[in-house]
């Protein structure tokens, strides 16, 4: 499904110095698999995801989604790719204020699906996410956990093949994090969506099929003892 080949991203700083944000990462994720990527702050996690989302051009190497090279897409094709093949969830919630839960969730869908049909399609998913009673509530009145669940609904609305999650539980407490991660894993496994979840929260490991560590832009083969990988489920 997703394959990274010797992916490299170097940032040239003003002083002529280079930051090796991602430094030769190769990995692959298959459909329905949830990969957790761990790393301390500044280890290149976000940079990596940006390249997968075709928002950032790699210095070298390639990102393949179903064998197609993502990094060479035109601006238009990249938009189309992000819209229909990709879901992106982040720590902050990019909801439209003053707009209902339902309307926020269908935003991506509206580009190609009429409003009525989009609503009909989204309702079951939102109910699955426990938002059945919140459909008409305005986004800014939802709790943090609820907001993140709306973002998950939006990300999954176009039935993408690949979901990227950058610190999705960053602003949630433990209880909410468990809920959100559980739902995420469940839904993705059902739909056969490949997930790359980036975090420094050990909690996430419990829900991952596979755990990799990133350090200074490189995958760290040696997992130190007691790391979350041992709690891996599935």
């Amino acid at each position: 499904m997703l394959e990274l080949r010797e992916l490299v991203k170097h940032y040239e700083l003003v002083g002529g110095e280079t930051v090796r944000a991602v430094d030769g990462v190769s990995l692959s994720v298959s459909a329905g698999e949830l990969l957790a990527l761990y790393g301390p702050s500044g280890s290149g996690k976000t940079t990596l995801l940006l390249m997968v989302a075709a928002l950032l051009e790699p210095t070298s190497g390639s990102v393949l989604v179903d064998g197609r090279n993502i990094s060479t897409l035109s601006e238009r094709d990249a938009s189309q790719y992000r819209l229909s093949e990709l879901g992106f969830i982040r720590q902050s919630f990019d909801l439209l204020p003053g707009v209902s839960t339902l309307d926020n969730a269908v935003l991506k869908l509206l580009k190609n699906v009429p409003w009525r049909e989009a609503h009909a399609r989204m309702k079951p998913l939102l109910e699955r996410l426990g938002l059945g009673k919140r459909l008409d509530q305005h986004a800014e009145t939802l709790s943090m956990g609820e907001r993140q669940r709306v973002m998950i609904a939006r990300a999954l609305s176009t039935e993408p093949r690949l979901l990227l999650a950058d610190e999705p539980t960053g602003s949630l407490d433990t209880q909410r994090s468990h809920e959100v991660l559980g739902l995420l894993r469940e839904l993705c496994r059902e739909r056969g969506v490949a997930v790359v979840l980036v975090s420094h929260d050990p909690l996430a490991a419990g829900y991952a099929d596979r755990v990799l560590a990133l350090r200074d832009g490189r995958l760290d083969g040696h997992q130190p003892g007691g790391t979350p990988v041992q709690h891996s489920v599935g």
Partner: protein, 834 residues
């Protein structure tokens, strides 16, 4: 406090600049229109004061021929009269080698110098070495090309033509502000000789001894025998202010609207920073500052913005008034001597600065409720996004109330048109948010029918930034409102004035009258010697005598129109507002009956059939045959037949000759034949009815040009303000646009969203403004028609409204499309920098 302020200022220099520009634009427009309207009346006042000096009272002739100089010694013998000075004032056409100019000839003797007026303080008025000579301001002398000592100017005064040598040019040093006034001063005897009025004067200025003013006035009134006017010396200024009232009021209206546009510009800029400002307020309150301290910091902000904005605005307004808003007296110059000086009074500066400072303070203190709130964090509490039911209901009701007030003024008290306009503005502000909400709701409903996310995003963005959206819509709204109402009324007035001019030229083929642009209304009498010469011409079928003049009646300098009884139509048919045209025509033709304009009839409580005494040189009793418009002359008009005029004025002199041409003679051909018969140097000018009407149209248009100029400027300012505010809004929104990009929306869709939002705002604003603007037009039309009696042709300026709407929308969109396009190309990674 200063430290806090400095820290904040640096972080939002751009927005502060916007705010300063907004305030400057408002102050500039306000200042320029103040200068334009004050300049004319100041110029009249300066001339009046420059002549009268310390005199308090005056005895005034009621016609240009004046009265016998012998009265002077009787006046000097009145107990309590300290000084008395005779004057002869006459309108003249001064012709030099370079050009000709209409001027006021002032003949005076040395007693005038003793009154100490600026005009003659440095001029000797004894006949210059026994020969007659004239002095005039430098600019006038250079204008007509008579500059050297002894060089001769030709003066044409009521058909009398004479050569007058220049004694000297007056400098600004000598006569101060009068330097730009078209006047020529001559010793009294020489002026009398040139005007063909030997031994006659037109006024006597009187300085009473202290405390004796009332007694002297009574004694002078007795001497006047009801044939002369005894008034205080500021009478001219009163007459002028009545005549210029319409022009001044429209300028005030404009000034208010320009100030509003400028204020909204500044307010928009302030709104850009409102979230930062709110955070600052919350921070300060949390750190224990009292509301008073917070207000202090904000007021400091307002003071800095206001001061810089006002300073820039004054410079801008000054420049505008020099480059664009030349104060043009238009028709007024045919009854008053008005200079071209630009008078910048302290009052204009004060009004403009006060407006600017107020705008700054109101804009800065807009979150006042949150500052004063018990809850220190109120300023950053989540905002209610849409208006609640109660608020909506209140707004609807209040708006309706204001419209009702406007309609009531329209129907019942048109005098208070300004109040009506203010009420409409309030209604506009109250209803605009409702209009916006309603539009957004219907767009949201429509959006469900199309397969696109663009309208959904646009609607939600507008709802989220509602207060800013309303402010932007209000900016274009108020500009379109002002522009439509004023342009509409302007068009109707112009149309009406052209009809009046047409009527006044309908009864003759050719006019023969004294030369000079002051004589546009045919008010200058001249000796009828030329009449005989014309009657024998082959191309002339009939020559008759037209008389007319200006008569001061209480506060009004009214226009007397006295066509010959043979004239058809005798009464301008399109100008009648009450009475039967045919019957009135018969009455007036037979004599003893007149037509008065409505305001005059109302002022003197006259109804058709009533008789009254007209304070003509020989007071005469007339009956009212019909009521008319003011026939284009703001203070009012009276129509009688030429024979009645001759009796009431006690003089057979015509003011113009009406020539009807023989069948088959083209007007231009007839005019040339008459010119040849009169010969050169007659001091008379010959023009066809068409030429005269054209001249009147031109002057009308010039006089009203300032209105359209300001209306255009307001629109331009609104376009810039709207585009700038929207541009800034879009720019600030880039992170949110980037987030949408993250979701897979293309730059094209984002650009579409931005444009759709802008179109919605502009259309709502402009449509609201245009709609109420049409109502405003009716209000102004009605005020012009029933208060000043202008012959307004009422209409609904739908084309003007649509044009304003289209222009503002298109122009603002065009300006906005560039920053919109750039913002839509925002890198998606910007979304991650939060």
């Amino acid at each position: 406090m200063f430290h806090l302020y400095r820290v904040r200022l640096r972080s939002r220099l751009l927005q502060e600049c916007f705010a300063v520009i907004g305030i400057a634009a408002g102050v500039g427009l306000l200042f320029a229109s103040q200068i334009a309207s004050n300049s004319l009346s100041s110029s009249v006042a300066q001339l009046s004061q420059g002549i009268v000096g310390s005199a308090k009272l005056q005895v005034l002739a009621r016609d240009p021929r004046g009265f016998d100089q012998g009265l002077l010694s009787s006046v000097r013998h009145v107990a309590g009269v300290r000084l008395a000075a005779p004057l002869l004032e006459a309108n003249a056409n001064a012709v030099g080698p370079r050009a000709s100019r209409s001027v006021e000839l002032i003949g005076a003797d040395e007693s005038l110098t003793r009154l100490g007026g600026t005009l003659v303080r440095h001029t000797r008025l004894a006949p210059f070495g026994g020969v007659g000579a004239i002095v005039m301001p430098g600019p006038l002398a250079r204008g007509i090309g008579v500059t050297r000592f002894g060089a001769e100017a030709t003066l044409e005064i009521g058909g009398h033509v004479s050569q007058a040598p220049l004694y000297k040019q007056l400098s600004a040093h000598e006569i101060g502000p009068l330097i730009d006034t078209p006047i020529i001063v001559a010793p009294l005897s020489f002026a009398q000789e040139m005007a063909g009025l030997r031994g006659r004067v037109t006024r006597i200025l009187v300085t009473p001894s202290p405390g004796r003013e009332q007694a002297v006035r009574v004694a002078l009134t007795q001497l006047a025998h009801g044939r002369l006017n005894v008034t205080s010396t500021n009478y001219d200024e009163q007459l002028f202010s009545k005549a210029a009232a319409a022009a001044n009021q429209s300028t005030v209206l404009f000034a208010v609207i320009s100030a509003l546009v400028g204020f909204l510009f500044a307010f928009n800029a302030m709104l850009l920073t409102v979230s930062q400002r709110r955070r600052l307020i919350a921070d300060l309150r949390r750190d224990g500052y009292t509301p008073r301290a917070v207000i202090g910091v904000l007021l400091l902000d307002a003071a800095v913005l206001g001061t810089v904005g006002c300073a820039l605005g004054l410079v801008l307004g000054d420049e505008l008034s020099i480059q664009l808003f030349h104060s043009n007296p238009g028709f007024l110059s045919s009854a008053f001597t008005v200079g071209s000086a630009r008078v910048v009074g302290a009052q204009s500066v004060a009004v403009a600065v006060a407006g600017g400072m107020l705008a700054a303070v109101v804009a800065v203190l807009s979150p006042l409720r949150d500052i004063l709130s018990r809850d220190p964090l109120a300023a950053i509490a989540p905002r209610q996004l849409a208006a609640t039911r109660t608020v909506t209901r209140w707004r609807t009701a209040l708006g309706a109330l204001f419209v009702a007030i406007a309609v009531a003024t329209l129907l019942a008290i048109p005098r208070l048109a300004i109040v009506g306009m203010v009420a409409l503005t309030c209604a506009l502000f109250l209803w605009l948010p409702l209009g916006l909400d309603a539009t957004l709701a219907s767009i949201a409903r429509l959006a469900r029918k199309v397969t696109s996310a663009v309208p959904h995003i646009a609607v939600s963005e507008l709802r989220a930034g509602r207060s800013r959206a309303v402010a932007i819509a209000a900016t274009c709204s108020i500009a379109v409102f002002g522009s439509v109402s004023i342009q509409g009324a302007h068009g109707d007035l112009q149309h009406g004035l052209e009809n009046a001019a047409h009527d006044m030229n309908a009864f003759t083929d050719v006019w023969v009258s004294p030369a000079g642009s002051f004589n546009l209304l045919m008010t200058q009498p001249f000796p009828a010697t030329s009449l005989a010469r014309l009657q024998h011409l082959a191309s002339v079928r009939q020559t008759s005598v037209y008389r007319g003049g200006l008569l001061d009646w209480r506060e009004r300098r009214i226009w007397v129109i006295a066509p010959p009884s043979t004239a058809r139509p005798l009464i301008p048919p399109s100008q009648l507002v009450e009475g039967n045209l045919a019957a009135a025509g018969t009455h007036v033709r037979a004599g003893g009956w007149v037509v008065l304009s409505q305001a005059l009839a109302a002022e003197h409580h006259l109804h058709i059939g009533d008789s009254f005494t007209l304070p003509a040189p020989r007071p005469s009793t007339f009956r009212l045959a019909a009521v008319s418009t003011n026939i284009g002359w703001a203070p009012g008009a009276i129509v009688m037949n030429a024979d009645d005029y001759m009796r009431a004025w006690g003089s057979p002199e015509p003011s113009a000759l009406n020539v009807l041409l023989s069948p088959g003679t083209a007007p231009a051909q007839g005019r040339r034949a008459i010119e040849r018969a009169l010969g050169t140097g007659s001091g008379l000018t010959v023009q066809t009815a068409g030429q005269h009407a054209d001249k009147q149209h031109t002057l009308t248009r010039q006089g009203l040009a300032r209105l359209s100029q300001i209306a255009t400027l307001i629109l331009a300012a609104a376009v810039l303000a709207t585009a700038a505010a929207m541009g800034a809004m879009v720019w600030q929104r880039r992170p949110r646009l980037a987030k949408l990009k993250l979701e897979g929306f293309s730059p094209r869709e984002l650009w579409g969203t931005i444009l759709l939002e802008s179109v919605l705002l502009l259309l709502v604003g402009c449509a609201g403004g245009a709609l109420l603007g049409l109502l405003g037009q009716q209000l102004l039309d009605r005020a012009l028609a029933s208060v000043i009696n202008y012959p307004v042709v009422r209409s609904v300026a739908l084309p003007t409204a649509l044009a304003a709407l289209a222009i503002v929308t298109a122009a603002a969109l065009a300006v906005l499309s560039v920053p919109g396009y750039l913002a839509a190309r925002v890198p998606a990674s910007l979304a991650l920098q939060d």
